[in-house]
């Protein structure tokens, strides 16, 4: 009988251990494949429920303007419009502010410790649930915005952009809250892009006598541009899929409008607001809306991921 310590000596794996090894490796392979499978399953599963409605409504589903469960007519053009409109406003406002903050906390305006603290705080703000932003929007943003929108309407009311005298939920309020929600994403991702610009490249600019902003506009922004672009695309993707805050703030009106002050709707909030009470064909139609939303966000996200991956490769070449 061998002494117990012999088992710790180097030895080749036994047949049993080899069998376990092969099983485990194939197991992890299967689970990894499962991640891809899940993505496929999501499309198939939702598509399966959506198919009957899609067959019945046909192309009218995409460009129709009425959503009426009683007549079983479903068209989602106003919602597609509302989704793109609100997300674009949010992207412009949130993008400008987000990039400004990212520059402010990465280009040596503040002491290094404060920069890191602010970065952490902003990452934490990104974690605040959207339903909380929605609650804040109902009780702070909408009331605070009202005198402003009314003043603008009284002054320029003939403009289609400002046409109804807003009472309650409206597109502008929802879009502004959305801008605040995507701001931390824009800031966090573009800050990383700015921080990834090699120090020697910036120092070279300063060495040539560039002022701080000449360096930012001439060196930092161009070098990090695709990273910032990726950040904006990812933020746009988040804005398109954002559900709860907009379901609470937009007013859930299924009508097309140019106006900033009119109640509106998006694909996601249409689904959230209508689904719990929907039955039969309306549920199937909502599934179709979900498929459309999924396709739009997938396209945007894939684009953003590809852009960010390219940036990383390029910057690695620079460093």
């Amino acid at each position: 009988m061998s002494p117990p310590h012999v088992t710790s000596l180097p030895r080749p794996p036994t047949a049993g251990e080899k069998a376990v090894d092969v099983t485990f490796r194939h197991g992890t392979f299967a689970v990894g494949l499962g991640v891809l499978g899940l993505l496929a399953l999501i499309v198939v599963e939702i598509g399966g429920v959506a198919a009957p409605a899609l067959r019945e409504q046909g192309l009218q589903f995409l460009h129709g303007e009425t959503w009426d469960a009683n007549q079983q007519v479903y068209g989602i053009r106003p919602q597609i419009w509302g989704t793109l409109y609100s997300s674009t406003i949010a992207l412009v406002v949130g993008g400008v502010l987000g990039i400004a903050v990212a520059l402010f906390i990465s280009q040596g305006f503040l002491p290094r410790k404060l920069e890191l603290l602010l970065k952490t705080v902003i990452e934490l703000l990104a974690a605040i649930p959207s339903v909380v932003y929605g609650l804040w929007g109902i009780f702070f943003v909408l009331p605070a915005l009202r005198p402003v929108t009314e003043a603008i309407h009284d002054a320029f009311g003939d403009f289609a952009l400002f046409s109804p005298r807003s009472a309650g939920p409206n597109l502008l309020g929802g879009s502004l809250v959305l801008a605040i929600m995507i701001l931390p994403t824009v800031t966090a991702v573009s800050r990383d892009a700015f921080a990834a610009v090699p120090g020697k490249v910036r120092e070279a600019a300063f060495g040539l006598g560039a002022t701080r902003w000449e360096c930012i506009f001439g060196v930092v922004l161009p070098t990090a541009s695709s990273g910032v672009f990726g950040a904006l695309v990812l933020a746009f993707g988040r804005a398109l899929g954002e559900t709860m805050a907009l379901a609470m703030l937009l007013g859930n009106r299924n009508e097309f409008s140019w106006s900033l002050f009119a109640p509106s709707n998006t694909l996601a909030s249409l689904i959230a607001n209508t689904f719990p009470e929907a039955t039969g064909t309306e549920r199937n139609a909502l599934m179709c809306a979900a498929i459309v939303l999924l396709l739009i966000t997938l396209a945007v996200n894939v684009l953003g991921t590809l852009i960010l991956a390219r940036t990383n490769r390029r910057l690695r070449g620079l460093a």
């Binding site: 990894g32 891809l36 974690a127 909380v132 559900t243 997938l298």
Partner: protein, 314 residues
């Protein structure tokens, strides 16, 4: 860092050599009145101003949360059942708190093992194979997928199959949101384990599986935990997926049967549209609790990550 828009010393005359011909030296300072200096200073002010505008609403949310949320917060709000419309005082969100914790737990039980195994494949066995790249890409796409899609998927997969809304369906929907986060962070964690540790184990005759279980996973565990905490923070705050899978109830959470289950997030949504002051006040308190819950997990994860980074560089 070099700052270029600080006041520069008075400009010296260009020195000349004994023969009297001026030597051409580069000027090392800026004129503060020059257009480019004004431009630079102006942009600094503009940038600071925009940052201030951005900070105002972000901190406004936190301020309002604390001011309104803390007003009604007490032990009884944390344990009692939600008040009906006719009640004008009392009540709480005990059932919703329990529901949120239970559903996130279910989601974690599904997503954490699956995510870690997938990460082991990506970091150890798949590595640079095209399939691994495809899985990585798939996980990234899943992180960007709207959460409402996860809810609809949970509805189609679980609710339609079992014939009822339930806490379990909610857990499945949340697990879809957690899975990619766990996978991607765990892969990074496993990749950061030094190769020489693994090689030492291989040299002792360990199979790759034994290396993973005895060396890699224990070493990477703190970083994996960071990812898990971030995923939990994300899942706990989600509303849309639960709206389609668990819905809401005023009654206590039942885990022994398939029926509607309460959660903090859906409670906030339901009560935010309520005409009753009492329920609105409760929605604010529930928001404060939910945000605290999310922030604790988020901050915990970040601190853990920072401590690991320090330990590794030491």
């Amino acid at each position: 860092m070099m700052t270029t828009d600080v006041e520069s010393p008075p400009r010296a005359e260009a020195p000349s050599d004994p023969a009297g011909t001026p030597v051409d030296r580069p000027r090392l300072e800026h004129d503060l009145r020059a257009a480019r200096s004004v431009f630079s200073g102006g942009f600094t002010v503009l940038c600071a101003l925009l940052s201030l505008i951005a900070a105002f609403p972000l901190f406004g949310v936190l301020y309002m949360l604390i001011e309104r949320g803390a007003a009604r917060l007490s032990w009884s709000t944390l344990v009692e059942l939600p008040p009906s419309a006719i009640q004008t005082e009392g009540g709480g969100f005990g059932n919703a708190l329990a529901g949120t914790v239970f559903m996130v737990l279910i989601a974690g039980l599904i997503a954490v093992p699956a995510g870690v195994f997938a990460a082991v494949f990506l970091a150890e066995f798949g590595k640079d194979r095209p399939l691994a790249a495809a899985i990585r890409f798939g996980a990234k796409v899943l992180t960007g997928m709207p959460s409402i899609i996860a809810g609809i998927f949970g509805y189609a997969l679980v609710v339609l199959t079992t014939g009822s809304f339930s806490a379990y369906a909610g857990g499945v929907a949340l697990s879809i949101l957690m899975l990619p986060i766990v996978t991607l962070t765990a892969e990074q964690a496993i990749r950061a384990v030094p190769a020489k540790m693994k090689e030492a184990a291989v040299g002792m005759g360990a199979t790759p599986t034994q290396v993973v279980w005895r060396v890699t996973l224990p070493t990477a565990m703190p970083s994996i935990l960071t990812g898990v905490m971030l995923a939990v923070a994300r899942a706990a705050g989600e509303t849309a997926p639960l709206l389609f899978t668990a819905q809401f109830t005023y009654f206590a959470l039942r885990v022994d049967r398939l029926e509607n289950a309460p959660s903090l997030a859906v409670l906030i949504y339901e009560f935010s549209g309520s005409p009753y002051e009492h329920q609105i006040a409760l929605a604010w308190s529930a928001s404060l609790v939910l945000v605290l819950l999310v922030l604790v997990f988020n901050l915990g994860g970040q601190l853990l990550a920072r401590r690991n980074e320090l330990a590794r560089t030491r």
